[in-house]
């Protein structure tokens, strides 16, 4: 059962071949069998999940209409609030924080009778590319337990890959959905900035953060997006743009669609085997009738530098709220109120979070603001312009998602800059605010490789259309880890 997709189990429920309670129980069985090895979950809510599953079973028995997501087990990254459950952000500073309200996406899922089974491990405050920065435990890649699942949404990706949930939610500030999706062989979508409300998502870098789904295939992705997309008055940056039925983009012809290949994304630093896989992917789309066009995005090389200035600056401001006063960890021995802030923060935050707060505080401090922060905001404008111009010529841009396959645990943890380079192909997308998806495109030595498709603002449908055409032509989403 755990290898089935969301739409496959939906069909079984519709045919009454399995009840939601049975499905939920089987998911908890799967978790108890494999999660000791994977470490995807920080918290489980078996009681709440079974209660919801029973409710849905009763609705079905009464012949009531139910949502597509009704009764199907899913899980949520631990920086998104679910009322009554802990939201720790995998940080000691929020170890005992119980969410007093639901995030907008949680509310939407509950309205659609989703069965929320637990909260997922991640890099502390979503800062990292390997999920090794969790204060509680490390997540392992289901395809190779000695390797990382990527990050920061490593738990969300690994849980889907290992069949510990039918779909999950994560967040993506610089690649935190797409890079782990690539490394774990699942589908991960970062929607347009503003497509999904961030209300109830613990803020890391507010101008870049976006919530998105992890699914086993593209079809499932369309179903989840249908539910979580849309405007919300509690997030003033959420867009008043109509939500389409994204499933209408499935099973479509892509003949004549223009796909841009930016030459800068295939330059030095890209693993040659990954390059081969992506080139094969391009051939598949060509065969399906897509028109391939080489394009140039010369500002891409500056995106990572812009990202680390902007994301760290915004983080240093957002994380100022964790001061040991209103919620979260408070240090025990302190001299006065300032000492309370300093000790609570210094004992509560991990190394990578401190590093980013330090970098951001430095970039925003008097004397450096113009040279770093303001300069980065100007280069951001140039990056945005470059993407807008590219989408005048092409429908979709195709790139690798990550320059490497899943790396070994500990391999990059002592070199922050090298770790940051894992996000080189994903950060420009957050800076521009456009949507992008990572879909399984092949394997190198048994390890998954993802292909990234980037779309124009609010053209998630176009991404799903091309992705689904690719998925129907290939079998990569069907390959499961042997765990």
């Amino acid at each position: 059962m755990h290898t089935k997709t969301l739409h496959e189990v939906k069909e079984l429920i519709n045919k009454k071949e399995i009840s939601c309670v049975e499905l939920t129980k089987s998911t908890f069985d799967r978790i108890s069998k494999v999660d000791d090895k994977i470490g995807a979950y920080l918290q489980l809510d078996e009681e709440g999940a079974l209660k919801k599953a029973r409710e849905v079973d009763e609705k079905i028995q009464r012949g009531e209409e139910t949502s597509f997501l009704a009764g199907i087990p899913m899980a949520i990254k631990d920086n998104i609030c679910v009322e009554g459950l802990k939201t720790t952000c995998a940080s000691k500073i929020l170890e005992n924080f119980v969410a007093p309200y639901d995030a907008h996406v949680t509310k939407k899922l509950k309205e659609n009778d989703a069965v929320i089974i637990g909260k997922l491990n991640m890099d502390e405050f979503a800062m990292g590319s390997s999920s090794e920065n969790s204060a509680f435990k490390k997540v392992k890649n289901p395809f190779d337990l000695e390797r990382v699942p990527g990050g920061s949404s490593g738990g969300s990706a690994a849980a889907v890959a290992a069949g510990e949930a039918y779909y999950t939610l994560g967040s993506d500030t610089g690649g935190s959905i797409r890079q782990p999706a690539s490394l774990c062989g699942v589908v991960g979508l970062k929607p347009t900035y503003g497509r999904i409300s961030r209300y109830g998502l613990v803020a890391f870098a507010s101008s870049l953060d976006q919530i998105g789904p992890f699914t086993k295939d593209v079809e499932d992705c369309a179903h989840v997006l249908n539910v979580i997309a849309g405007h919300d008055s509690m997030d003033s940056t959420s867009a008043k743009v109509e939500v389409e039925d994204y499933t209408k983009y499935l099973n479509q012809d892509i003949k004549g669609m223009k796909i841009g290949i930016p030459k800068e994304y295939f330059a030095e630093g890209l693993n040659p085997e990954i390059r081969g896989i992506i080139e094969n992917g391009i051939e598949v789309l060509k065969k399906l009738g897509a028109e391939i066009k080489e394009i140039s995005l010369p500002m891409s090389k500056y995106a990572l530098a812009v990202y680390y200035i902007l994301a760290s600056s915004e983080a240093s401001s957002n994380l100022a709220r964790f001061d040991g006063i209103r919620y979260g960890f408070r240090a025990e021995d302190f001299e006065d109120v300032v000492d309370l802030y300093v000790k609570s923060r210094s004992q509560g935050f991990g190394d990578e979070v401190k590093r980013r707060i330090m970098l951001g505080t430095y970039a925003l401090s008097a004397g450096y603001y113009d040279a770093y922060y303001k300069k980065a905001l100007k280069v951001r404008t140039l990056i945005i312009q470059e993407y807008k111009k590219a989408f005048e010529e092409v429908d979709v841009i195709l790139t690798p998602t990550s320059p490497t396959v899943a790396f070994k645990l500990g391999e990059k943890s002592n070199n922050p800059l090298e770790m940051y380079l894992s996000d080189i192909y994903t950060v420009p997308i957050n800076i521009a605010g456009v949507p992008a998806i990572s879909i399984p495109a092949g394997f190198v030595d048994g390890l998954p490789v993802g292909m990234q498709l980037i779309g124009d603002y609010f053209k998630e449908g176009t991404l799903l259309k091309v992705s689904h055409a690719f998925e129907r032509e290939t079998e990569f989403t069907k390959v499961k880890p042997s765990i």
Binding site: P100, Y193, G194, S207, S233, T237, A239, M299, Y302, L304, A305, V306, Y308, I309, S316, D323, G324, I325, R326, Y327, G328, F329, R330, F334, D336, V337, L340, V342, K343, R345, S346, F349, K354, R355, I357, M358, L359, T361, Y362, S365, A371, Y372, K374, K375, A376, L377, K378, V379, R380, T381, L382, I384, P416, L417, Y420, I431, A432, G433, V434, Y457
Partner: protein, 95 residues
């Protein structure tokens, strides 16, 4: 622009963080590495380029000013490290 231990101490103070000598040394090196990398932005010609604080359309989102219930006080205080009589308790601020 090279970061010194003194800069790290100053920035730490602004960020309300404290480090031991070894950590200060480590952060000095790491910040220099990262800032060395981002130095490449200086080669981009941005004369006359506007800043972008958001990804797209920065507009004010206004709503009706309606009175609505706020969060329950007791529930919010459950997450406070220390509270008394419906208030968050903090150490003495004024001498």
């Amino acid at each position: 622009m090279s970061v010194t231990i003194k800069d790290v101490e100053y920035v730490a103070k602004l960020a309300r963080l404290e480090f031991n000598e070894e950590e200060k040394q480590k952060f000095t090196e790491e910040l220099n590495n990262i800032l060395g990398y981002v130095e490449m932005l200086q080669e981009v010609d941005t004369d006359g380029v506007e800043i972008s604080i958001g990804a797209y359309r920065v507009v004010n989102a206004l709503r009706e000013d309606e009175v609505k219930p706020s969060f329950d006080r007791e529930k919010m205080l459950q997450n406070a490290p220390d509270s008394q009589d419906g208030y968050v308790k903090v150490p003495k601020v004024i001498e």
